[in-house]
Symmetry: C2
Subunit: 482 residues, 2 copies
Amino acid sequence: MTLKVYNSLTRQKEEFVPVQEGQVGIYVCGPTVYEDAHLGHGKTYVNFDTIVRYLRYRGYKVRYVQNITDVGHLLDSGEDRIMRGVRRERIEPMEVVEKYTRRYFEDMDALNVLRPDISPRASGHIPEQIELIKALIEKGYAYEVNGSVYFEVARWPEYGKLSGRRVEELMEGSRVEVNPDKRHPADFALWRRAEPEHIMRWPSPWGWGFPGWHLECSIMSTKYLGQPFDIHGGGLENKFPHHDCEIAQSEAAAGVPFCHYWLHNGMLMISGEEMHKSLGNFVTLKEAFEQYSPLAIRFFVLGGHYRSPLDFSETALQAASKGLERLHWAVQAVRERLLAADSGTDSTERAFMAKLAEHKVRFVEAMDDDFNTAAAVGVLFDLTREVNTLLDSGEEISQETLVAIDDLYRQLGGDVLGVIPDEIVKGVAGLEQPLIELLIETREKLREAQKWDLADEVRARLAELGIVLEDRPEGARWRISR
Amino acid sequence: MTLKVYNSLTRQKEEFVPVQEGQVGIYVCGPTVYEDAHLGHGKTYVNFDTIVRYLRYRGYKVRYVQNITDVGHLLDSGEDRIMRGVRRERIEPMEVVEKYTRRYFEDMDALNVLRPDISPRASGHIPEQIELIKALIEKGYAYEVNGSVYFEVARWPEYGKLSGRRVEELMEGSRVEVNPDKRHPADFALWRRAEPEHIMRWPSPWGWGFPGWHLECSIMSTKYLGQPFDIHGGGLENKFPHHDCEIAQSEAAAGVPFCHYWLHNGMLMISGEEMHKSLGNFVTLKEAFEQYSPLAIRFFVLGGHYRSPLDFSETALQAASKGLERLHWAVQAVRERLLAADSGTDSTERAFMAKLAEHKVRFVEAMDDDFNTAAAVGVLFDLTREVNTLLDSGEEISQETLVAIDDLYRQLGGDVLGVIPDEIVKGVAGLEQPLIELLIETREKLREAQKWDLADEVRARLAELGIVLEDRPEGARWRISR
């Protein structure tokens, strides 16, 4: 079995071969920390988190670098995004950065997105960026005008090779700003001169200024992963110009390829439309978490392929929540049965163990096919149907079988997809589980003592708290529906 | 009422007058992130967190900057602390930094230490550090030898004014290393040359290297707070040479004072001894949290004056836990009574309201006296005695009175001291509280129905979970003892 990934650079699925055997270096463009992360960020970072988790499951030692953009990422108006936060909240730029970096990671933690191994900041890598600019000027790929430095795209014929855009096309495009300092409208800034009143500025050989946005990713990827490195990920909307500029800078300066595989994920849509503040359909993750559980949102994202756009709607989210509940019920039932199970398998069970192995193979095949999480989730549902049939068969199930099922769920649903929590089966914390179980036991004793109304009241009060009981032959089982 | 602080620089208590009316800029030396934070860190950052909280309570707009040291802080062996982490864990320097920064904030969050407004990193401020060195060389306070730059203490006669050490004394001291590059043994490094195999190094006018440890604090304090700024805090062990070097660098370069007030906190001792790895009495915060609740540790720290050493022992911690429980019981009782209270105060209560105001004045007087938290905690205990007497009097207590008491606890014990949580009275989370209350109600109904053994079992099972019931005339009250 080999892992195949769709490489945006070559526009085809390729066998994945890392630079160093057994190791993967991956860089993903991180957030600009000036406001709360939105649903689109949720999709992007769940997509790449799952890719990283799968690479680790596949046995690779992965180093995952994801930057924090805290300077130089300008709005179309030319305003620095961080300065927009500064004006809105009347605090220092670094206070804006601090606040929204923290809130970003809160949201990612909630989505069960594992922390990157390194989260470098653009403002923390100014000297490295200046060095790269110096090298580009020296090699004739960049020029200085009035304290700013531009990359001269005409000098590097491969410019645009990722997006497939040609410079001639760009000239006709309306998105290219007119700037008399530039030799060609498609040239892009490596360093921008800053006036004294600009707070975020640093000294450089070209005077006080700040780096162009594209530069930071070239620097922070190769500083921590080497050049060439394995995988560069990011949202499709950053393919051009951001990623094409990264390639131009890094390859022109070093004379070797920047990275081998480019992975781009599709956008999140709201009821068929792109999400935009101007459309009034902009939803932050914190707002979404008020309505849906973060794990349900994660599960919803995994229901589509990372490269496809994904349509967010109430119906789709409710379906994802229900689907995830179905998985959780099965896992919970397995873990509960396990507590009282005996050792010793019979032939039926040995047949079942063979099926488990088949499901695992199918899951790996799905993920090996360019991280097809939608198909992988399908395998988990198939597995769950079989597990439920076994559980409902009325037969004794041995410890070995139950352990094998639980283990498979932990690997595929837990480690790889990140939607089945390890410790807490039911989305409960602290003493909630033992307290609920004590209440259920007390209710059963009340029924034995024929105190029916007291027993019913316990059930009704639990329901008010969102804890639903289901009476089954082997006793009541419960679930928090929130 | 005026706030007085003990200023280590002038060696006396002084009235606090900020640079800008109504605003305070405070900088506190942060951790070097190469291993887990220990109890001593806990004391330092609880001490300064409480100072910041009190300044805010006093109406100041505070900007609190606390750095993250991720480069240049050398061990006596000359090894960079981060590189020690790298060798221990076989990961990249920035992975070490990432991991221990995260774990540090986890610990601080647990201690209810509010996040600083800005947590700048040394590695993120290399250009600024280089600029300061250039200015010092230009003004004749620093010299370059073999790619390293040293501050020449003989050129700045005020050197040592904070600690009161004279250069002549230093020469006789054994702690001054012999370095043939230095003009005087007391000269200290501003920039250190790094060999090519050194991972953490940056280009500079003096070649590849890294900044001296003292430099980062000079830069990151004044960059975000201006010069002079109001308060510089840190552990007593950093007074010399670290803080004296900061003053020398910043004042020699800028020609104006560095900061106005120096606050140093006393060390944490273990059973009368300093904490040292070599003594085998080194306790990380994460280890301590396994035995004691983080809030009890915070409360223990506040039981001493920040400037005094504090002796950590099992007995002292148990006493602090008990004391904190006493406060929590009273607050809880007030909040419970409030749920059913009616409006309308009588003369007894008006007298009590006057007492509340007196306690508040005494609390502020204690904190105004150089942040005397030990005395402030004493006021809370006095208040609690009075509150308990009122609650036990058997009289009706009006809503107004209960709100006033609750409000005072929230301000003094919550906002300022950070030991009385706002939302969760009993150290419970999620559904724990309603579930416990449902169990207590069910137990009462069982007793009414004369099902004594079932009722007793509920009580016993709750006790196993650490939930202690206390039957009182008005019904059972409960507490989690963990």
